[in-house]
């Protein structure tokens, strides 16, 4: 009878200890199980176009370029080709 009582007490204490440990470790456990590693690749892209005929194409950003800069001639009607926009394109790959 005494032995049974002791066991119940010890078990209660053990359970309490276990719960305490669980609550302190929970944030870490969640972060470990839920993080899906993704690779994000960022690339600077610029949109070049012809304001006259509407020709547009995108290419890699070149250092020193800015929106409104003349970067060549239009392949369609040989007007000046200008940078219309510069932005970051994100590519995500699941690992």
């Amino acid at each position: 009878m005494m032995l049974l009582q002791l066991d119940a007490l010890m078990t209660a204490l053990l359970i309490a200890l276990f719960l305490l440990l669980l609550t302190t470790l929970l944030p870490w456990l969640i972060s470990v199980t839920s993080s899906k590693s993704k690779v994000v690749k960022e690339e600077l892209v610029e949109l070049v176009g012809c304001p006259k005929c509407g020709y547009e194409s995108s290419r890699k950003y070149e250092k020193g370029d800015y929106v409104g800069k003349v970067v060549g001639t239009c392949p369609k009607d040989s007007n000046s080709l200008i940078v219309k926009a510069i932005y970051v394109e994100k590519h995500t790959y699941a690992q």
Partner: protein, 365 residues
């Protein structure tokens, strides 16, 4: 009684005592104070590393523009050039006073940079000014965080330290945005805040301006389906916001108020539930100014009772400072269409409209 149950009863007494200590003393708060302060310290360490990194980038950029002793220039700028807000207890002519102080500060910063940057292009000069401002903002942020941390520890104000700890992740994000914006400013790439100038440039079909209407602010002229459209934006491609309010005021006065509609385009802070790049329109002056430029727009519009429209592209604070993303660029295209639609639907054929592209024009000529 056997030994086991004795241990158990000791444990129960211990548990009881511990619960007493935890519930009826301020020991838990002390423990929390310690935990939160060490958390803040760790984050502050990252922030200070970021500041060092930003400093390094700024110095590298400044020496590439031909500034001698760039670290001395940086040190001379930081902690100086503060602006004391005018008295607002007596608000008479507060805008005039505020505008005056802002202009004086701006011109003294300009003089400071001009002195060390002999004979460089204006866009380079603007960019150097912005780089200096960014590094000093990062320094100020770190100083403020350290101030509240030390204050909290000094007076055992655990609520203050806890509040600081809770805000830390947000502050780290903002500091990161500032550091990343340095890359954009030094290499001349448009940022999220550049959506206004980008829409303006799209509207004029990437033409050259007809003249400079205010210091660092350009005026363009174009036509949209038979409506004459004046477009105002800051002069690029250096980092510059210009004086859009003053420019609008001048233009409207020059035309004698013969304008059918004014449309302002700017970036706006999104709510967490909103998507980046969402476009919305409404009424008023879309400009994130501390006062003078915004009130100039409102005053001139109401003086001649010209309808004032606002078109905004939504983004987070971090996105506004970081290089333009594709999502926000799509927002630029959408807001361009919204502006065109407003002009066609709400301005009579042969009428005159003014579009103001508000924001930093870095990377947009």
């Amino acid at each position: 009684m056997n030994g086991g149950s004795e241990i158990a009863s000791y444990l129960i007494v211990l548990l009881f005592l511990v619960s007493l200590l935890m519930n009826f003393t301020d020991i838990p708060q002390r423990i929390q104070l310690h935990r939160f302060s060490s958390f803040v310290r760790r984050k502050l360490y990252t922030l200070e590393e970021m500041e060092v990194d930003a400093r390094r980038k700024a110095i590298a950029y400044m020496s590439s523009t031909g500034i001698k002793e760039p670290s001395k220039v940086l040190e001379g700028f930081m902690d100086n050039f503060f602006l004391i807000r005018p008295v607002d207890m007596e608000p008479t002519d507060i805008i005039k006073r505020f505008k005056h102080l802002i202009r004086v500060r701006e011109s003294s910063v300009r003089d400071y940079v001009r002195r060390v940057l002999s004979g460089a292009e204006r866009s380079v000069q603007y960019s150097v000014e912005t780089v200096l401002e960014i590094v000093s903002v990062m320094r100020l942020l770190n100083k403020l965080i350290r101030h509240y941390l030390e204050l909290g520890l000094k007076y055992n104000n655990w609520i203050l330290v806890m509040q600081l700890a809770i805000q830390m992740p947000e502050l780290v994000e903002i500091a990161k945005a500032y550091r990343n914006s340095l890359d954009a400013f030094t290499s001349g790439i448009p940022i999220g805040d550049s959506v206004g100038p980008l829409v303006a440039k799209m509207l004029v079909n990437w033409k050259e301006p007809i003249r400079e209407i205010s210091e660092g602010t350009d005026l363009y002229e174009t036509e949209v389906e038979g409506r004459k459209v004046y477009v105002i934006k800051a002069s690029g491609p250096g980092s510059n916001v210009g004086w859009p309010g003053e420019a609008l005021e001048k233009l409207v006065e020059e035309l004698g108020g013969a304008i059918d509609r004014i449309i302002t385009v700017d970036a706006a802070l999104k709510l967490e539930s909103e998507e980046s790049g969402e476009v919305a329109f409404g009424t008023g002056a879309a400009i994130g100014d501390i006062g003078p430029e915004k009130i100039a727009m409102e005053r001139i519009a109401s003086k001649y009772s010209i309808p004032l429209d606002a078109v905004v592209v939504k983004m987070s604070e971090v996105e506004a400072l970081s290089p333009l993303t594709k999502k926000i660029y799509e927002g630029v295209v959408r807001s361009y269409e919204v502006v065109r639609k407003i002009i066609i639907e709400k301005v009579r054929d042969g009428g005159v409209a003014v579009v103001v592209g508000v924001g930093n024009t870095v990377g947009v000529k």
